[in-house]
């Protein structure tokens, strides 16, 4: 058996053991099994990565669905792209499992939690390891299931349950798009295997109509999973889940599946510049909208959630301008710093006895020094300050956007200024100033245990250094990640070499762009500092928020809009269909109407039964005459 098969299998076995043994296996063992499975999987990925030959490796497992000429195999593909994703999933996955041992320690659903988390890792690995679109789809829907189960993990709270269902249903809307994309691919290429579809696509010319529809449908799938307009509203609500879930699923891995899918299908997207254009604009608007909402949120996790939506927008923006590697690079650095920020937020929430409102925090840096320091590093990284990880990846995206359209670049820079502002606002309100919570909370404040701070430290190191994986030439780097991923884009280069030509920007322009975006971020940080540290202002209570901030604070009422546009009308339709169409129109008028008609007819015919023999004889004779006439009609009337 190929060792690569063990990579998804180990977490699956962990799921089975912890799932079946739930409430019988002691918590300490549950943690070891759950974490151990993912760590072992990470070790295997690492050895695979180190021994990787550079040639994509295809690992067939068995024929899954065979109908006529359609043959969909259950098989894996190990190449540069899947390897990096696997490293992120199992690497960050391991850290978050470790963290959860401390974070979930008091929860009675401990075993169930680890089972679901392992199951998630299993499906996420299928998603990135699949060698065709349908195996990817298994993982795609599977992670959706785990996301549903984990958002609604504390299932006694109905609003959490609602958030979980909302996430699943919105994802399913996207999944229908994905599925239709799959049908279109099958119709056009008669295969779903990457290794057959992409070479065949490389024979087509840019602007192919069929490819346009395929890429559009796949992007609808990505909108759902990666929370882009209009399917983004589930992600902020998904924060109902335990914080490690938010870090792993709703920040570092699952929500980046849409970016993975597009990078995987890069040749198709390169053939469809119209779709890319759409991707870029939707991404940019999402990035700005979500960042603006983030400016006014007071729930520590909600700020991070909108930040995630916004950062996902930046990744898609990179893809949309054809800079696949930059978008993917941001997936990686974002996984480091956003997982760090969520876990840091979790550490804060843990210390604050489940308080999440930053208006009631403040001054935590003395009580939670490690959390503070790591959170600070993560905040600097996401704000795009050199030489932290976020600077390199975001800067690369921005440089490509500038080449594409200076207008979009300007908007994107405004977005990144908002990012720096809301992140430092969050940092200052949480860790600086005076403590604003209750006495009880203050008394209880404590730094988290080692199992929780260790992942913070590791992720902080990655957030600081991660950017050096892909330092651009202008800064004297050798762009290692780009070089490593290069083979993934071979077909794209073949169909549209121009899109991959070396940058037209000269070095001075590039330095200017960097200077502007860094200066913008620094300016935003200074404003945040003045407001929240020097002036010590605290956001107003909900009731006192008015005007434009109120509109933004309530997320532009988009949820309410969707509710009255889609949810309410469908519910009304449901009642009309049931009470009117079904019960009255079809049943009473249709079915019973037919019955009444027959009964009415029988009432008429009843009158014929007079009981008089002569009447019957008369009718009989007439009948025989009629039959005779009919039989003899040719004789009498001729032909």
């Amino acid at each position: 058996m190929n060792l690569a098969l063990l990579i998804p299998l180990l977490p699956f076995i962990g799921f089975l053991i912890n799932g079946l043994g739930f409430r019988r296996i002691p918590k300490s063992l549950v943690g070891i099994i759950g974490t151990g499975a993912v760590v072992a999987s990470f070790a295997l990925v690492l050895s695979l990565f180190l021994n990787f030959s550079g040639e994509a490796q295809h690992i067939p497992v068995y024929d899954w669905i065979t109908v006529g000429s359609l043959n969909i195999s259950f098989s894996f593909q190990i190449d540069q792209l899947s390897l990096i994703m696997m490293l992120i999933i199992t690497g960050i996955g391991s850290l978050i499992h470790l963290y959860s041992i401390g974070y979930m320690h008091h929860d009675e659903g401990f075993g169930k939690f680890f089972a679901f988390l392992n199951l998630f890792v299993f499906f996420m690995l299928l998603l990135v390891m699949g060698s065709n679109y349908l195996v990817m789809f298994i993982g795609w829907e599977g992670v959706g299931l785990c996301s549903y189960l984990l958002i609604g993990f504390w299932n006694q709270n109905p609003s959490y349950g609602y958030a979980a269902r909302k996430a699943f249903v919105m994802n399913r809307i996207g999944d229908l798009g994905f599925l239709i994309g799959i049908f279109l691919i099958l119709n056009q290429f008669e295969s779903l295997e990457f290794a057959s579809v992409f070479p065949a696509a490389a024979q087509l010319s840019v602007g192919d109509q069929g490819i346009f529809w395929i890429t559009l449908c796949l992007f609808i799938g990505a909108m759902g999973k990666s929370a882009q307009i209009p399917l983004y509203t589930w992600l902020p609500d998904a924060m109902a889940g335990p914080t490690p879930v938010s870090a792993l699923i709703h920040a570092a891995t699952m929500v980046t599946a849409g970016i993975y899918m597009i990078v995987r299908s890069n040749v198709l997207y390169t053939l469809a510049p119209d779709t890319l254009h759409l991707v870029a604009w939707i991404a940019l608007i999402t990035a700005l909208l979500a960042a603006s909402i983030g400016l006014f949120q007071n729930d520590i996790k909600k700020v991070l959630a909108y930040s995630t939506v916004s950062q996902l927008g930046y990744m898609f923006l990179g893809l949309g301008v054809g800079a696949y590697t930059s978008g993917f690079f941001h997936v990686m650095t974002h996984a480091f710093f956003k997982a760090l920020l969520f876990l840091g937020a979790g550490s804060v929430i843990h210390a604050m006895s489940n308080e999440q409102d930053i208006r009631y925090m403040g001054g935590l840096r003395k009580k939670l020094p490690i959390t503070f320091l790591t959170f600070l590093l993560g905040t600097i990284a996401i704000s795009g300050i050199p030489p932290f990880a976020g600077f390199f990846s975001k800067d690369e995206i921005l440089a490509h956007v500038f080449e594409h359209s200076p207008l979009m670049w300007g908007l994107a820079v405004i977005g990144s200024m908002m990012t720096a502002f809301y992140m430092f606002r969050l940092l200052f309100l949480t860790f600086f100033g005076e403590f604003r919570g209750t006495h009880e909370q203050e008394h209880h404040l404590h730094e988290s245990p080692f199992s929780m701070t260790l992942p913070l430290i590791v992720l902080a190191i990655l957030s600081v250094l991660g950017g050096f994986l892909n330092v651009p030439a202008v800064l004297g780097g050798s762009a290692k990640l780009s070089a490593y991923l290069d083979p993934i884009f071979a077909y794209s280069k073949q169909v549209n070499p121009e899109a991959f030509a070396e940058t037209h920007l000269d070095h001075s322009t590039e330095f200017m762009l960097m200077g502007v975006s860094v200066a913008g971020a620094v300016l935003a940080i200074v404003i945040a500092f003045v407001l929240y540290v020097s002036r010590k202002s605290v956001p107003a209570p909900d009731a006192e928020i008015t005007g434009l901030p109120k509109l933004v604070y309530h997320k532009y009422y988009i949820d309410e809009l969707y509710d009255s546009l889609f949810v309410k009308p469908i519910q009304a339709l449901s009642r009309v269909f049931y009470n009117v169409t079904d019960r009255i129109l079809i049943d009473r008028f249709g079915v019973e109407g037919l019955g009444n008609f027959v009964r009415g007819l029988s009432n008429e015919f009843r009158l014929l039964q007079t009981g008089t023999t002569s009447f019957y004889v008369f009718i009989m004779v007439m009948g025989i005459a009629a039959i005779l006439m009919y039989s003899l009609r040719t004789l009498i009337f001729g032909n």
Binding site: T66, Q156, P158, V169, R172, L176, D582
Partner: protein, 481 residues
């Protein structure tokens, strides 16, 4: 010969049961149905996946009229024979916690029903098919009318008239076809396949035959008997109806309508497929607001059947293969769901989602099985429902892009109503009726575990099932051209 034994075992045991009394009745019924299943598994294992009819038997029934007692199993019927023999022992076992009045009649009727159902799926003669088709109605009518809920008389009468009405059209069609056969006439289905019918003849024959099957499934707008009947019937009858009996309709489309009136299908297939797709969306939307769990599952079943019918009329290999494997998958899932509703009802005396909640706190095992059945039902990949729905949707999509997309909304709406049902019953806070809820007992686990195994077995390894049916389906499509 073995096919005949498959019809006779339940029939004869049913007669024996009528003479038995007391606790032995249900055990004998269970053993008989297990023996039947064992035989069916043997038949399945020795079945050759080709286009022929196997384990056949035929002798003259009404010699002068050319009516034959001809039976056999081929690729179209093989999965349905499995379905009807697999589900009946589980349905019988599911009743073990409940004592029904007059058990000997109750279990005898279930076995009569099974005998007739197997008969429908193996009949090779049109009149024999019709005979079994009608014979299946009688036991289910009595089970529903004698052991059903408050409105059982009104509801079952409606059900009876509805289906008889449809069957009469079908009989008319079959008699007409019979009269078209040359010489001394023959009612063998193969004789009907070879008829040279004009386009207009095929047009009206299509409707005569289609309406009979459409009511049985049911297809919009012939469905209003179904939710009431499912709700009022005792749960074993509901399982028989939804799990197996409705497949007589979908099976009839493939066995009778498609090969006999291919031109009629060409003329009217679009109308049929549109009705089916309307049913998918319409049934799903109604299910969203239902409070009675049984009625909710009933409407979901109606929606799912619409997709099977649409796949059949897509006249694609994917659509037909999808519909056959979905018949099996749907039977498994819907029986599981109805049983879970029954389990909840037997403990709380309620199926009302507004009164339930928090059940998972006392019953993790039930929750797991419930979630598995729901996942199958919403077609999550690696469950049985996905294989069927993927192939069906692909078939409908190939037939017509827009119909495929509209039919595809089932994966969204299905998630809406199924997850709502799970949420309102299993999650949230406990209510007064669910406080004392006890988890599954061994008997209930023994029913749900095999169903759960099949959910994943078919989802993971569908090819074992698909390859049994493919040659026959491919041949059918070839002959239609």
């Amino acid at each position: 010969m073995l096919t005949l034994v498959l019809i006779l075992i339940p029939l004869l045991v049913a007669l024996v049961l009528l003479a038995l009394r007391g606790g032995a009745v249900k055990r004998v019924a269970l053993i008989a149905s297990l023996a039947e299943l064992a035989l069916a598994v043997y038949v399945l294992a020795s079945f050759q996946p080709d286009t022929t009819s196997q384990f056949s038997l035929s002798y003259h029934w009404i010699k002068s009229a050319g009516v034959q007692f001809a039976i056999g199993i081929d690729g179209i019927s093989v999965l349905l024979v499995l379905l009807s023999t697999l589900l009946v022992p589980l349905i019988i076992l599911s009743t073990f916690n409940h004592s029904y009045r007059n058990p000997s009649s109750f279990y005898a009727l279930i076995l009569f029903m099974q005998s007739a159902l197997v008969g429908v799926f193996v009949a090779k003669d049109a009149f024999l098919f019709y005979f079994f088709f009608e014979a299946a109605l009688i036991p289910i009518y009595f089970i529903a009318a004698l052991w059903g809920g408050e409105n059982r008389i009104k509801v079952t009468f409606k059900f009876f008239l509805y289906t008889i009405f449809g069957s009469l059209f079908m009989l008319l069609g079959l008699v007409y076809l019979y009269l078209q056969t040359p010489g001394t006439h023959s009612s063998l289905l193969t004789a009907f396949y070879g008829l040279n019918l004009s386009a207009s003849q095929q047009g009206f024959l299509f409707w005569a035959l289609f309406i009979g099957f459409a009511i049985k499934m049911p297809i919009f707008p012939f469905h209003t008997w179904q939710p009431d009947t499912y709700v009022e019937s005792p749960t074993p009858a509901t399982m028989l109806l939804a799990g197996i009996m409705l497949k007589m309709g979908t099976y009839g489309l493939i066995r009778i309508v498609l090969p006999i009136v291919p031109e009629g299908v060409q003329q009217w297939g679009l109308v049929a497929i549109v009705l089916a797709v309307i049913g998918i969306v319409y049934g799903s939307i109604i299910a969203i607001q239902q409070q009675d769990m049984k009625r909710l599952v009933a409407y979901s079943s109606f929606a799912h059947v619409g997709l099977m019918a649409a796949g059949i009329f897509s006249l694609t290999l994917d659509g037909l293969q999808g519909s056959l494997i979905q018949m099996l998958a749907h039977g498994i899932n819907v029986v599981g769901l109805f049983f879970i509703v029954e389990i909840i009802f037997s403990r709380t005396q309620s199926r009302d989602l507004t009164q339930l909640g928090g059940i998972t706190q006392n019953s993790p095992v039930l929750s797991v099985f419930f979630i598995i059945m729901v996942l199958g039902s919403v077609a999550l990949p690696l469950t049985n429902g996905f294989i069927g729905e993927f192939l069906l949707l692909k078939g409908v999509f190939t037939y017509n892009t827009w119909l495929g997309i509209i039919a595809g909304t089932t994966i969204i709406l299905g998630a809406v109503y199924m997850l709502r049902m799970v949420q309102k019953s299993m999650f949230g806070l406990q209510t007064t009726v669910t406080e004392q809820f006890t988890d599954l007992n061994l008997n209930e686990i023994l029913v749900l575990a095999p169903l759960a195994v099949f959910v994943f077995w078919i989802g993971l390894f569908p090819n074992g099932f698909l390859k049994l049916t493919e040659p026959a389906v491919a041949e059918l499509l070839r002959a239609m051209k």
